[in-house]
Point group: C2
Chain length 498, copies 2
């Protein structure tokens, strides 16, 4: 069995999950029959060079689904070839039923967010601090909306384009900032993620390539690969997506779309200077490829001057801008928007209607009230102050606590920065030990497109209080230093990793 | 030009839109050059046998998009080959830019809802009456949620599975009703429509067939065809989806899914008796095909005894149940749910996360409060009373006002019934004249899968007050009688339409 068991350490699918899939498939196929014994966790972990908890997690999943059962002191045994023993497919062929296992093998599993306890200091999620939510201002906005005479209109079925008063407000704002012209329209979505999903539905077919930043956040990778798109990696440097590399990707891989976050890219925090933005637009125009400007963060600039959006710089109508209320207000309210050329927006509106009719109108109305009343802007100013402090504290703590040889990015805004631990450290391998010490982060494999960087990890700092940031980085730094010391007991050089 | 101009009267794409596409394509391709004159609306309408307003609507769209301009007394002239003259694609080849027209031809346009003025008596939308919304009870539920100590959790990024307290509540309800077993799980979606979308994403590939009711509501048709699925039509009779026909479709077209609404089907209002439900499950099980039970209406039964859901009857784990708060409370709040086998729900949750991270949590929390406080059930009882009256009034008005030879269905609940006008009346052709008289409905072509029924139309009665229903049906009846009289001036027999 072990000969067949090849785990992909670079995959975004966690190792325990890969292990689970390996056994589940062999049980379903009958290769492992009912009553057969699985290898002991300790033995399997040893032979595969895995942590024993990884193997135990895979076995727990199999057990939870009723495929194996453990007997104390005896090991784990196959009990059923189907999940929970209740799904169809076990009867004689004449009583077939739905074979979910076979049906579902046609679709890929995407990674899900890391689930963590409350006590953990988690740098793992790019979200705002719940302690900073302006709850009273939110309550006032809610109360104002529910007191309105047109409340029934908000509660009735709405337009796929969005709640019209909010749509008009956002479109006027976009015109005012020069981010929408006469040829543009605006569609409300459930956050930037749905904006990407709709653009993909309309413009992509399975097998199409999409130029994306490398590294890039998991939600984009899983969305695009779930659609059957190929990811064409363009490295991100200090100045964001690297334009010469983009030009080469456009020539060689003929992508159908470019997806880019010019401000405070997720995960690196990198920002494209104006010249790079112009270069990107020029390259895209020459290739005739649309640009999706995925911009959840630009409103959260803590230092430096704001830069014009690609959508504002583009004079050729090739850019689609995605924005959201999530990062600068309340992520639990799913409201974002798309600005772009009318013919495209017409199609996106149809795709939106097919997907879920329209976005939730209560939240649209509440966020409009929150914005029009000036509360959003007041909250944003507080977020800028707090975010700036958190960013400074993060950078200071990196200097203070991370071992020599560690590099990190220096964002001017947003929620994330990227740390590269010195070789031979592997941030993914180190993670379970960090979690035991009460700290979590996402290692590079969640973000990798083509480029593996074992020492890389993302620090999402915006959701944590300054003291938590310091405490968390002190733990990471101490752990990294210890592992570094034990990796070089005799001072031998680290092996080349690239 | 007219030789090339073939309009499809049976298409779900409205005629004006087909006409618009015809000219837009010829203008973009250069076949119609800048400065060329389009045929006069009256002349074109005459030669195509169309209403002049249909042609005028197509020209208005072209004009709104800057492709043509009208000069008084002179006609309409081509002004630009691109929408609003601002999109790229007009420059020399070396300055290509994005050719949106070419890119977008790769995706199909789905029909959108009919937009109507407030004064019209509209039977066109299957929605609840806004006048019946319990606004004070809604305000109380909102206030209770915003007063809660865990408000910040509701506002923070949530789980793709849904707001956990609501998820637990709905799963407990499903267990209580026997609609969920130990092998099942529950996922919150943005209404039934997103439930269908997620199931399709996970289980369908382009080219797959899906067995659907014929006629069926446009949202399902456009969703499935947008995914590249083929619709395998199963006729709906008095007892809902006809089982012998389903068996034949399963054999011949090998669909990957069956989508069915056993209670108060949209558009016919038909309900499957228990024997038909058992027959459907048996046929699906024998073929190994999953059943999607799309059930937005079963809570709205005005008479007769409730019947067990397919999900409850199915002992083989092959059914997925879709439910929603929309029809029995507030459609503007987009909250529904899916109940089904855990392995499938696991994939649906990943698809949900890729699509839009999770459903809006404010509305999830408000609807949970609305349900747990007993306000939802109290509102449902009022809806049952009002809906029962509206249904009775609709059936009475059909008898009183519709011309002899008209047939209609007799639903026991839900929001819709189906009218078949006598030959040679065409409900689609009649619609513009009905709208001029202040009444709207959706004609059969919006619902047709394979079966054309020119005399068919859907009456969505739940959103209208009893007097509006009577007034509207009186207008439809008078118009139909007049058209019937003018169609048979000499008493000649109606031509066969099938």
């Amino acid at each position: 069995m072990d000969a067949l068991l090849q785990l992909d350490h670079g995959s975004e699918v966690p190792l325990y999950r890969q292990l689970y899939e390996h056994f589940a498939e062999r049980i379903r196929s009958g290769e492992l029959g009912i009553g057969e014994r699985l290898p002991a966790t300790r033995e399997l972990a040893g032979s595969l060079g895995l942590n024993r908890t990884t193997v135990a997690a895979a076995y727990e999943m199999l057990e939870a689904e009723g495929m194996i059962a453990g007997r104390v002191g005896k090991g784990s045994f196959v009990t059923s070839a189907t999940v929970a023993g209740e799904l169809a497919g076990r009867g004689p062929a004449s009583q077939r039923g739905v074979r979910w296992g076979a049906l579902l093998e046609r679709s890929e599993t995407a990674p899900t967010s890391t689930a963590l306890g409350r006590e953990t200091i988690s740098f793992a999620t790019s979200w705002p601090s719940r302690e900073l939510f302006p709850l009273d201002e939110f309550r006032l906005s809610c109360a104002a909306v529910t007191a309105r005479a047109d409340l029934a209109d908000i509660l009735q079925l709405g337009s796929p384009a969005g709640y019209e008063p909010l749509r008009r407000y956002l479109l006027a704002e976009a015109h005012r900032k020069g981010e929408a012209g006469a040829a543009d329209d605006l569609l409300i979505t459930n956050g930037c993620q749905q904006g990407l999903d709709l653009v993909g539905r309309v413009l992509l077919r399975p097998g199409d390539a999409v130029a994306v930043e490398d590294p890039v956040y998991p939600g984009l990778k899983s969305l695009l690969t779930g659609m059957g798109a190929r990811l064409a990696a363009v490295p991100v440097g200090t100045n964001g997506m690297e334009i010469p590399r983009l030009v080469r990707v456009l020539e060689r891989e003929r992508p159908k779309l470019i997806v880019v976050t010019p401000d405070f890219q997720n995960p690196t925090g990198a920002t494209q200077p104006l010249a790079a933005r112009r270069g990107l637009l020029e390259a895209a125009r020459a290739a005739g490829v649309p640009v999706v400007e995925n911009d959840p963060y630009s409103e959260l600039r803590y230092e430096g001057q704001p830069l014009a959006a690609l959508k504002q710089l583009d004079e050729h109508g090739g850019t689609v801008l995605l924005r959201s209320f999530s990062k600068a207000s309340f992520p639990g309210l799913r409201v974002g928007w798309v600005v772009g050329p009318k013919p495209l927006l017409d199609r996106l509106r149809h795709a939106k209607e097919a997907a879920d009719l329209h976005s939730d109108q209560l939240s649209q109305a509440v966020l409009l009230e929150f914005a029009e009343s000036g509360r959003l802007e007041a909250h944003r100013r507080r977020l800028l102050e707090a975010g700036g402090e958190r960013l400074r504290v993060t950078l200071e703590a990196c200097r203070e606590f991370l071992p020599p040889g560690t590099r990190w990015t220096r964002p001017e805004g947003g929620m994330n920065l990227w740390v590269s631990l010195p070789e031979p450290l592997d941030a993914g391998e180190m993670l379970p030990r960090a979690q035991k010490l009460g700290v979590a982060y996402l290692p590079a494999r969640y973000f990798a497109v083509s480029r593996q960087e074992p020492g890389g990890l993302r620090l999402s700092f915006a959701g944590l209080a300054p003291q938590q940031i310091r405490d968390g980085l002190a733990i990471i730094g101490k752990l990294a230093a210890a592992e570094l010391a034990s990796a070089h007991p005799s001072g031998e050089p680290a092996p080349a990793m690239v």
